[in-house]
């Protein structure tokens, strides 16, 4: 049951991430907006991250049959997802998140190389949680300012993903409990909520009488 839900979650994450990523990319090519460019990176990263984990489960299911995903692969997928969450948070001008000193930044990253894949996974999950909470709060604030229903749905989606991440971490304290299942269900609900407002917009690309490249050059910088 847990494995099935995990597969569904990762497949849904992969599909939704790629659809929103493609939509953002089309928007970027049509308008040259840097915000759409950041959202393109964010959602492609989220989609690819989920896709890697889904692929890992499929490889195990079809070939290895060990009943668990390779820890390194899981950490890689979660890491790429976190990059996506970072770009969503970064779009809300999260500029003071990292220390400015280049030396300090390199030292901060060092401990990651001395930890096992399991520990790295937990660190990545905690980063994801912080970024998702930040993104959710900023989106809720925008909703309060603009009263746009779409912002409420996206904010709720990010909040559910964050809560799911938190519950997943908490399930480590109580393994074999229902907490992990709840976390997967929360994340699936979060992804669907994230997709709802975007699903109302038509997915297509327009042609500007051979002017697209010129517009990109002019406005995309």
């Amino acid at each position: 049951m847990e494995l099935l839900l995990e597969n569904i979650l990762n497949l849904v994450g992969f599909i939704i991430g790629m659809i929103i990523g493609i939509f953002s990319y089309l928007g970027y090519t049509n308008t040259g907006s840097p915000v759409l460019f950041r959202l393109t990176i964010a959602f492609f990263a989220i989609g690819i991250g989920f896709g890697i984990i889904w692929g890992g489960y499929m490889i195990d299911d079809l070939i290895l049959q060990e009943g668990k995903i390779h820890r390194g692969l899981q950490a890689l997928g979660l890491g790429i997802q976190t990059i996506g969450y970072f770009f969503i948070a970064f779009s809300h001008t999260i500029k003071s998140f990292f220390p400015k000193s280049r030396y300090f930044r390199s030292v901060v990253i060092l401990p990651l190389f001395t930890l096992s894949a399991m520990n790295v996974e937990h660190i990545i999950r905690s980063f994801s949680f912080i970024l998702l909470v930040y993104g959710a709060i900023e989106t809720f604030v925008s909703f309060l300012e603009g009263k746009q229903k779409g912002a409420l749905a996206v904010g709720t989606g990010l909040a559910l993903l964050a809560f799911g991440e938190f519950i997943a971490w908490y399930s480590l304290v109580f393994p074999e409990s229902i907490l992990y299942l709840i976390s997967i269900l929360l994340k699936i609900s979060g992804l669907i909520s994230l997709f709802l407002p975007i699903s109302r917009l038509p997915l297509r690309k327009i042609k500007f009488d051979d002017l697209e490249d010129e517009e990109d050059d002019e406005f995309g910088k």
Binding site: G27, N30, S33, L39, P197, E214, E218, F219
Partner: protein
């Protein structure tokens, strides 16, 4: 005071103004565009030159003053601009 607009938002505002002011074939005078898009003369001149060179606006020759009207490509761009503005609004972001 409202938030600062980026380049794309300014272009969007100019195109919206041009579309609303283009009632007939004469196009809109630059002073009306300045008022409607809320932008300085020095800044709008450069942007208008760019938009005309890219075919999003058309410059109409007139005896009185330079006039601009939105082109078909400009309307297409504006439609996309509005659609993706709604998309980024959903994330609480400005395009």
């Amino acid at each position: 005071m409202g938030p600062y607009r980026n380049q794309i938002q300014i272009v969007g505002d100019i195109l919206v103004a041009a579309e609303e002011l283009t009632i007939d074939q004469d196009g809109a005078p630059i002073t009306k565009l300045i008022q409607k898009a809320n932008i300085s003369h020095s800044r709008i001149s450069k942007i208008l030159t760019n938009l005309v060179s890219q075919g999003l606006l058309e410059q109409v020759d007139s005896k009185q003053a330079r006039r601009y009207k939105i082109s078909m490509s400009g309307k297409d761009f504006l439609r996309e601009f509005k659609r993706y503005s709604e998309f980024t609004d959903n994330f609480g972001l400005s395009i």
